[in-house]
């Protein structure tokens, strides 16, 4: 990507004004997307992201500069400008860059750029047809295809040199069902760190059908009642609740500044003994899998909570310094435009023993949240909110009827303690996680779980 001598000169320049650590991150990324509306191709975009980020650390201070002009002259100018922002002493540096060997966590069979565009259009049309033909209430279907091939090089003043390729693809189907002047949406969007063989492994028709099934169910659903109730959260994307409500609070960026509800709780009970939670960035071909993190550390499997006890945070280099702890290989960034920080990869609650049928059968009165949408959390307080995209009322151990418009609100640490059943059907779902170092692909996941009590916000408050 860049000559070794250029990399070395930039690192020397970065530390010429002070600082104790310098890093260069070079990114060359090809992206492509195709979008069909009503089965017809509306947009077809492709392009190349290219740029360089230079980071200088001086104890706990971080200077970050980035540019898309990668000429040696410009990079040295940028490195010196960044260094000039430091008020510190120059350290002597002798560089000896050693290339890091990687283990391939996401082997690729069919390269995306080598796959003809017509094959990509074909899977979108198949997904569209299946979604549209599902039922006559389906009034509009949008399908999109995404791919990216990110090539990165990281080198730093500790002598690390690492290069990696990250290949990802994803298909998204969004169906709208219309009935009696009302409209409801259903959405499903699986993806992986995989080549085009991903579409040999999944049936794209099923993805379209799933989106339409949700839309149809919801357009016929009544509004959800509100109040505190037992809530069953289904597997796969249901894990977004743990991701938002607890995962972010375990990131060193918040812990190191004491602004996380989990700060100072290492070794303490923070969840029901039924809960074991893991962040594993090495899952084969996982959506959030990488070989190295975005500062060059090998990605790992980190057990965060074991049988309810807090075992580990997610730590990057800079916040690790603040906390006096080692990196857990969890430093990530969207692109060269972002300074990296502690983030999640593939985060999930581990499988338990209960059967889904038994969890429902044992629920007297509550909400079965089959699909969650997005949500957000305030890491300082742990307060979260989530949209339920597909929900059902459960009474006396039986699913009674679908309901829409439900929101779950609560507090992350409290909900962790209130989990009283954990299923045996662990599965992962794909999402994009947004935070201070940008939007990154991350898997969420869990088996079906039940929470004793959550506040459900609905429209039938006056019943």
């Amino acid at each position: 990507m860049l000559k070794r001598s250029v990399i070395e000169n930039v690192l020397y320049a970065a530390l010429s004004m002070g600082g104790d650590f310098a890093e260069i991150f070079i990114e060359d990324k090809r992206t492509g997307s195709i979008r069909l509306v009503g089965g017809l191709i509306e947009n077809n975009l492709s392009g190349r992201d290219y740029g360089v980020g230079i980071r200088i650390l001086d104890k706990f201070n971080c200077i970050y500069a980035y540019t898309s002009d990668s000429s040696e002259e410009n990079l040295i100018k940028v490195a010196k400008e960044a260094g000039a922002a430091l008020d510190s002493f120059k350290t002597d540096l002798v560089l000896n860059l050693v290339r890091r060997d990687l283990v391939e966590n996401s082997p690729i069979i069919k390269g995306l750029s080598k796959t003809p565009k017509s094959a990509k259009v074909d899977i979108l049309k198949r997904a569209y047809n299946a979604a549209k033909d599902y039922n006559q209430v389906v009034s509009q279907v949008t399908t999109s295809y995404l791919e990216e091939e990110q090539h990165i090089l990281i080198a730093n003043s500790d002598g690390l040199l690492a290069e990696d390729n990250r290949i990802r693809t994803r298909i998204a189907v969004s169906s709208v069902a219309s009935f009696n002047g009302e409209m409801q949406q259903g959405h499903y969007a699986p993806g992986a760190s995989m080549g085009f063989e991903f579409y040999d492994n999944v049936k794209v028709e099923d993805i379209g059908i799933e989106a339409s099934r949700i839309a149809k169910t919801m357009v016929h659903a009544d509004y959800c009642p509100s109040g505190n109730m037992q809530v069953i959260i289904d597997n796969e994307f249901g894990g977004v609740l743990f991701h938002e409500a607890c995962g972010h609070g375990l990131e060193a960026a918040f812990v190191s500044k004491g602004t996380s509800a989990f700060a100072g709780k290492m070794g303490q009970v923070v969840a029901s003994p039924l809960v074991t939670a893991i962040d594993d960035g090495t899952i084969k071909n996982g959506w959030g899998t990488t070989n190295i993190d975005d500062e060059g550390s090998l990605t790992q499997r980190n057990v965060l909570i074991e049988n309810g006890i807090l075992k580990s945070y997610l730590i990057d280099k800079l916040n690790g310094r603040r906390m006096g702890m080692d990196s857990t290989g969890s430093s990530r960034r969207q692109s060269y435009r972002f300074s990296p920080t502690s983030r999640m990869n593939n985060t999930f609650i581990d499988g338990g023993k209960s059967k889904l049928e038994d969890i429902i059968a044992n629920t007297e009165s509550g909400l079965y949240a089959k699909k969650l949408g997005g949500g957000s959390v305030n890491p300082a307080t742990g307060d979260f909110n989530f949209a339920v995209m597909e929900g059902y009322i459960v009474e006396n151990g039986r699913i009674i009827k679908p309901v829409r418009g439900a929101t779950l609100i609560g507090n992350g640490t409290k909900v962790l303690e209130l989990i009283d059943m954990v299923g045996d059907n662990l599965n992962l779902g794909q999402g994009m996680c947004g935070s201070s170092s940008g939007s990154i692909p991350a898997n969420v996941g869990q088996p079906t779980i039940r929470v004793k009590s959550i506040t459900v916000g609905g429209r039938k408050g006056d019943e």
């Binding site: 191709i41 509009q140 409801q184 959800c224 949209a387 506040t455 916000g457 408050g461």
Partner: protein, 449 residues
Amino acid sequence: MDLTLLINEILIRGKKKFDDLEVFVLRGKSIDLKVFQGQVDKYSIAETGGLSLRGIKNGKMGYSYTEKLDESSIDMLIDEALENSKYIDIVDGDEIYSSSRDYRELDNFYEALSLSTMEERLAFTKRMEEEAMSLDGRIKSIQACSYQEFQQERYIFNTKGLRLKDRVNGGFAYISVVAREGGDIKTGMGFRTFSGLTEVSPLEIAKEAVEEAISMLGAGSIKAGNYSILIKNTSFADLLNAFSSIFSGDNAQKGLSLLKDKVGSKVGAEIISIVDDPFMVKGYASRAFDDEGCKTFMKKIVDKGVLTTLLHTWKTARKEGLVSTGNGYRSSYKSALGISPSNFYVENGSESLKDMMTEMGEGIYITNLQGLHSGLNPVSGDFSLSCQGYEIERGKIKKPINQITVAGNFFQLLNDILRIGNDLSFSMPDSGYFGSPSILIKRLSISGE
């Protein structure tokens, strides 16, 4: 290679393969400064840009972009865009825009801001943190204390003779504080946009954050039910932002907006008017031409409750025999042309906040809405959002409340507006810049205890 030369070279070479083409460039500088405990926590400087080509061949538009702005990218750009265009199925009058007449003269570049020094920025940001920590003993830590500044140049050149350039700059500062009392933790946030450092006071921003956090201490839930609701100006602006896609002509044409076929009809209470004003002084989304080079103008989207127009690009307008409203928008050179409001706000009414509280008597004053990207459905208009605010009793604030949700339907809500305040204020800038006065609503459903 000089940028203008590069653009011209792309247009010349591209014209041999396309019927017409356009080059769109965004290029800029930005600064992001974060302070933690009196020290520079993060200082980020950037100089980046990207170039997008879109070209039309046989009525089909193909796009490509690159961040490597040099001669070596030219052929790749042209070939990729041409290849991409071949697959387009929807041939619906997409075209490269020729040119408008009489573009408004607008100057959105503020010299004073571009001349601010590192010392001034740092002093400002540190001051914000210091003030926040010293205003109240219950403020125990700062979640984020940040100062941002950007400047951006935009170029739109095409083979139909369009040669447009503009530049903008702006500043943005915010602080998020954590208050603690016993085991109770609450956060608060303050922010300002500005076009010069002397326009804003670090103390004011800090005060806003501290007051919010402190006033929420001791907050609890409330009994579920239907309540009269007063929505704070910035919160209503957030809600308007989250539902702004309903005003898109493109969404209406695709059957994704319930405002389809509603132009000329009543869509809200008679007292509400909504304006799209691209010429607003110091508006964050002010511009003389949109992202396809079409001239912009000020218009009322909703006039006394009646929908007067949707927002259009050249293409979506032409499908209905209209002219573009100048709302063509690209979130970056990576994205296709879409639609976005500019400075978009509910016009001021006549009531003061205090009078509206008095009139409401009993109810809830909502000051913060969360989950706006997930807890609502812009297609159906339904929303169910986590929120916080205050319980109002006999026209006065009784106690803070949180851990509740407010639910309703946006289309219904527009019709249920009882009073509009005189305190127009703008929320954090997004693709557009959204504002509103505080608004009294007949009733919405609240869930809590």
